[in-house]
Symmetry: C2
Subunit: 442 residues, 2 copies
Amino acid sequence: MTNLNDLTACDALELLRARKVSATELVRACLDRIAVQESVIGAWTYLNPDQALAAAKACDTDVPTRPLHGLPLAVKDILETADMPTAYGSPIYKDWRPRADCAAVTIARKAGAIVMGKTVTTEFACGSFVRTANGLNPDHTSGGSSAGSCAAVASHMVSFALGTQSAGCTIRPASYNGLIGMRPSMGLISVAGLKYLNGSFDTIGLIARDVDDVELLWSTQLGVPFIRGRLPVSKLKIAVCRPSWLDRADAVASAAINAAVRSLADAGVEIVRLDLPAYYDDLVPLHQDIQAFEAARSYAWEYETYPDMIDHRVRGIVEHGFSIPFDRYLAMMRQARAARETFGDLIGDADAILTAAAPGEAPFGHNKLGAAFDDMGDTTQSRAWTLLHVPAVTVPAICGPNNMPVGVQLIGRFGDDQKILHISRLARDAIGDPVGAAKVVA
Amino acid sequence: MTNLNDLTACDALELLRARKVSATELVRACLDRIAVQESVIGAWTYLNPDQALAAAKACDTDVPTRPLHGLPLAVKDILETADMPTAYGSPIYKDWRPRADCAAVTIARKAGAIVMGKTVTTEFACGSFVRTANGLNPDHTSGGSSAGSCAAVASHMVSFALGTQSAGCTIRPASYNGLIGMRPSMGLISVAGLKYLNGSFDTIGLIARDVDDVELLWSTQLGVPFIRGRLPVSKLKIAVCRPSWLDRADAVASAAINAAVRSLADAGVEIVRLDLPAYYDDLVPLHQDIQAFEAARSYAWEYETYPDMIDHRVRGIVEHGFSIPFDRYLAMMRQARAARETFGDLIGDADAILTAAAPGEAPFGHNKLGAAFDDMGDTTQSRAWTLLHVPAVTVPAICGPNNMPVGVQLIGRFGDDQKILHISRLARDAIGDPVGAAKVVA
């Protein structure tokens, strides 16, 4: 029998609306699952069952009409909450309580969501290790930086979650956990109250096991009415992109692209090949250096005030960032703007680009830090698209040699978020779920 | 005799470096000035003389080589500080202490600046009134939202200050106070730790009585070496722009443009006329509506949690913002992007655009709220340029019929910040200071 925590958010919402299930029952089912799984997965930095149940109880007295009525939501601990500690993954902020909820949480709560707690992030969303295990197999990492949100969704502790992405911090862990992960177009969903990393790249990440649930979250954040169901999609053309930086991924990342292409072609999608212009090779280091220049300023106070409490990778980024001369940063900002301006021409009459989401399967094993994973893969496959400000959704495509999932990434023009979600739903239908419920940690 | 607080930052720095003056002496002079003026001006929300003197004393033990060594700096209370309360102009945040300094303050302090205290802002940088009087004449408003920073500089309490601008919140009050005010290119100076208003527009504002001091602040924020002195400027071409929205300004705003044009032409600058394409008329409401959509999300928590503690103008913006459908927001974001892409063609081979900075002189008089000014003019003259992400500097051009200053605005291409500063210096030399020390409140 399916437990309530195994339902998708949309399925649970139908039961809640029909009053066949109460928010309290749903939250209890999630808490029960967390009680069993958390010692293995380590997804949460803050979890207070009484607080979650109190919110559910209050919700049960409401008319169940709100778009997220009674749905348990996990929130990455880089997003500020007034009633739960927010540490941004840093010991400097241990027990820190911001004054306000971030915009994304305020909107989700107003829409009826129950914030279950805060989930693990790497330090300042760019640190070197994470304690969270993969939600499908605890011998593998959940990836970074939205580690806890992805693991919580993959292990059926909740059905959806908020993460963030400034490089590949939603797309990659979502791929590692066999999930649908979305990085919306830059700037559309408010990042007010997200611990500022990069003005050029910071975005909210949306994470679920199902495309509908991601679209439900996206729609709610932007006040767009969400109508569930397979929308008619006209004949699609998808441009397959194997960029030069794909050679920094495992072979399984290419195999995932090939598998997705076959499934989409079988489903009647026209597949064309997209060769990137040579200057695209610059976009990966461009993203990396713009990120470092900005991160250095974002974490300047922490770096100056608590130098010994900063992760070595964060310190490296800050120091690299301060070593970049302004002239170079400005030249890079101009290059990035120019690349964004020509992206529409590049994608041409294709509806989406299909490419790799992650460097491969989630890396294996506990590491020298003891309880933490320090090999979380890298963000190379996402950097260029993040720099371009375009929407991206990862969909699981295959399982690799270690029986861990590998996703592909669907990318659209700036603002084509809903279209990319609809194409992702079609891809999901065409590909099927390579993971399946059987893989979930028992 | 000139008091130390009357010096420009650059002049004071020379004395500090030569150890002819100590930071303690300079801070004392500023505190003495504040003690005399503050009851009339009302520039500060937080001022702790002992704290400022302690910082100065610590500074005096250092080798005076840092770029801002010992220089007193005023900081708008929308920028977070860990050791001073930060209320963002809102009773909701009374006595609130953020955990960290914002990036701009961290960098200024690391460079040796003495943060004197926090200065008055309108609520969340968009409220309806301000208690701060103009630094030149307390019968007039200082404008908004960087009211305290501008009044403190204009009344010689400090030589320079940090403000912010998301619409016209630095350029307009700087014009009202007869100051040099700069809104740098969007995204170059970090806004980490600025109370998030608009991802699309938030910028740090730089305010001083002298162009050199603004450039010193700008350079320090970006790690650019600052070499004082008149740099050789090749033959300049300036495009004079009298946009359609100039009809929403007083005649004195046009007179300021004409006066600046005459002075620049006399100084050998080639003057051409710039007619804006018709779609520019849309940019003012476009900025306004994008701002409202984003502000609604930024202040959603405050609006939901403390509805009775929010200024009616902030409430109006939030409610307007939530009434804008996402489709319209997306269309506006695309329009804004397109306008940015063609700005380079518009400016053509001109070195800068010259246009109005403010709707006229600073409005007169105390108002029905008692101690507060609720007519602060409007931001129309800045909205389009803010939307375009381009750098803007205001330079005082004339005094109006009420003997209050009116500035013009010099605008460049994205990233041409230093060039616009150099042109502003030339404009300052050509125009002279229409205010003069005599106008300062005695």
